[in-house]
Amino acid sequence: MSGKKSDTEEQHDSPARISRRDFLRIAGVAAAGAGATGALGVQTVHGQEAPKFDQEFDVIAVGSGAAGAVAAVIAHEAGAKVALVEKAMLFGGTTAKSGGVYWIPDNRFLKEAGVVEQRQDTLRKMARFSYMHMYNEKDARAGLPQNEWSLLEALYDTGPVVVDELDRIGALHSMPADKPFGPMPDYFEEATEEKVPVDRRLWARKEDGSFGLGDEMMRQLKAALEKRQVPLLMGHRVTSLIRNVKGEVIGVEATRMDKTTVRLRARKGVIFGSGGFTNNKDLVLQFQPGPVFGGCAVPTNEGDFVYMGTAAGARLGQMSSAWRAQIVLEQALQFSSTPDDVFMPPGDSMILVNRYGQRVVNETSNYNERTRVHFIWDSTRHEWTNLLLFMIYDQRTAELYGGRFPLPPAGTQAPYVIKAAGAAELAAALGERLARLATRTGGQTLASGFAETLTAQISRYNAFAAAGADEDFGRGRMLYDRLWHSRVWSFPNQGTAHEVGKTPNPTMHPIAVQGPLYAIILASGTLDTNGGPVINARGEVLDAHGQPIPGLYGAGNCIASPTGPYYYGGGGTLGPAMAFAYLAAKSAAAAPERSAA
């Protein structure tokens, strides 16, 4: 199941007069039209005569998020004549709606703060969690194959370089993301290889010295491209790679909004940074490890590079992976691109339970790891036991943390919040809601005994909260849990009757058993997928035999994630995207001009 609606769903969803699909089509979403992916592929030039191109460049960057924009600006700085081609009409991709944080190890801000990062320690931590089943601490490459190890080395070595280079050329100014939250740990600070006490997050610095989010990051990069007069071809969907008789990529064909096509010559290389495939129902169904109900990626992220890359002979990797996050089920069903995800369920008097009323996860663990619990297949019951999870909370959490998504702010109400007097009434109301959503969830129901189990789980949780230790899932044990809870996602409202800081574990407070109780239905979602063609440490796309496909490069969520499925810390998506965009741009700009004929 994906965030994209089927024809049947679209008919049901569409009110009498307004069609969402019409607007998706206008937005450049290919799946909104017929033959969405059939046109994607490769054209090979035959014969002696050079093919005709409408415009000629050295390097073409595809996509206007962090990967595409960084690739374009770096290739330009390296002396290439560059164009950026974007499928949507809006610049910035998913980066522009993100928090805009980038994870950069060994960055200059850490050094300025006196933090000495040991390359081997960090590389081994990265290797251990990205490729846990292969990890061997005694091996020189930590047990990893050469290419996977080289990618981690490239990320470690290049991350700081790209940040400094973008700053030096005035394309993107950075600052540590330790303001206003304070220093924060990465997403598993208990790793034995982790020796850096503070995190490695950076984000954009505005002119006035304050921090900017994803929209500011993309504003700066867009301004840098415009200043360099790099053409930004918006509303151009790349549909074909163009190859010469030697199999080298020498350009692309793109379809514009008016259905006309344009052929663009790339004398040195084409760099894809076109996003993942969250919004491609078929790819999600075929490759993801379980049901995905939607995601935050922009609607145009439909995995176009998967089709063109494989048509060019690329080897695919990490197709079952994604940057995962929980989403509110009803929101996911209503938006073509989920507006927001549940980074951490807010509240201390709050738990997540499954259809049996059973807690199944540390609610304060990071979003990527927490969401994986949705994919547990119960081999005894033959079901996705945690397909949907129910965020259960009381009046304290509703008032103290109202406004922290997905809790509605004080004075407002949200139809996706279900309120009842107690556990039995809540079970009845949830059952009714699930029945009304059944056509969109595979008929998911609550198990009999839900209310009784929920009541028992609340009692057990309350005892843990009073003692300060969650014996089941270790909630609040890690610094990550405590700091991201109290400083960010569950920062308390002022002026309520409730007190914070009175329990031994700040992430836990007993849930009021007398009610009322509230529930919100959560489902698995993505920030975006992160599988696609495999690259090497130069950003070159590899073929099935591990050899570079000449003239084809990639970075960001459209390629097989160089860090595997593991999310190292805040900015674990954008940091690698920027590093490999930089490497791809340098490689492409330095490549020989490839013959068109």
Partner: protein, 210 residues
């Protein structure tokens, strides 16, 4: 359309709802905030403009303008939301604009808005653009528009239909040109020209009584 699909369509929006002192005699106000707005502020603005008499429903857009908004110490207490992407309210990003239109059209079919006196769409900026677009589709039982400007959004590849309700009345809160609406048969009046919104609302119900 099944009950389930209707439910799915109308379940995601946070909203403020306020009963009016004379709600049964007046249209219900559906107030739509601007970019970086929220439901509580929209409710306050609507009450200031229309007084206490009409019922008001203030839905809140779902797109937080800042993913970390008000979630940490030192952040501004104000939490803003947007209906659609794009910094110019008259040039929306199409997919998110379409999402918002679909949600609001379904909202117009909700029980709270099934007022026999009809619904007045009220909005500023993004809210005004959505109100005009909704009205252009003839969505819901819309009997009036109260907007700060009356230009329909510009989206390449999209033309607003002209299914406006017959003799739809529009009260303009700003001083922009009303030519685009007048050519579509909408009766335009100006709040700046001495027309007070509460009296204008009452005139809507009076004309229906006649």
């Amino acid at each position: 359309m099944t009950a389930a699909s209707e439910l799915v369509q109308t379940m995601a929006l946070v909203s403020c709802q306020s009963a009016g002192t004379d709600a049964h005699r007046l249209p219900t106000v559906l107030t739509l905030h601007d970019r970086n707005g929220n439901a509580r502020h929209a409710m306050g603005a609507a009450r200031t403009l229309f007084g206490e008499e009409p019922a008001v429903l203030a839905p809140q857009a779902a797109r937080p303008c800042n993913p970390f908004q008000s979630n940490f110490e030192g952040a501004p207490a104000y939490a803003g939301y947007s209906w659609y992407l794009g910094s110019d309210s008259l040039m929306p990003e199409p997919a998110s604009f379409g999402d918002a239109l679909c949600q609001l059209e379904l909202l117009l079919g909700e029980e709270a808005l099934r007022n026999r006196r009809g619904v007045v769409l009220h909005g500023y900026g993004q809210g005004a653009a959505l109100a005009l677009a909704l009205a252009s589709y003839g969505a819901g039982n819309v009997t009036g528009l109260v907007v700060d400007r009356c230009q329909l959004p510009r989206i390449a590849g999209w033309t607003a239909p002209s299914s406006f309700a017959k003799s739809l009345r529009c009260l303009l809160l700003g001083n922009g040109s009303d030519e685009e609406l007048r050519t579509r048969g909408i009766i335009c009046e100006y709040a700046g020209g001495g027309v007070a919104p509460p009296e204008w609302m009452r005139s809507l119900s009076t004309s229906e009584d006649r």
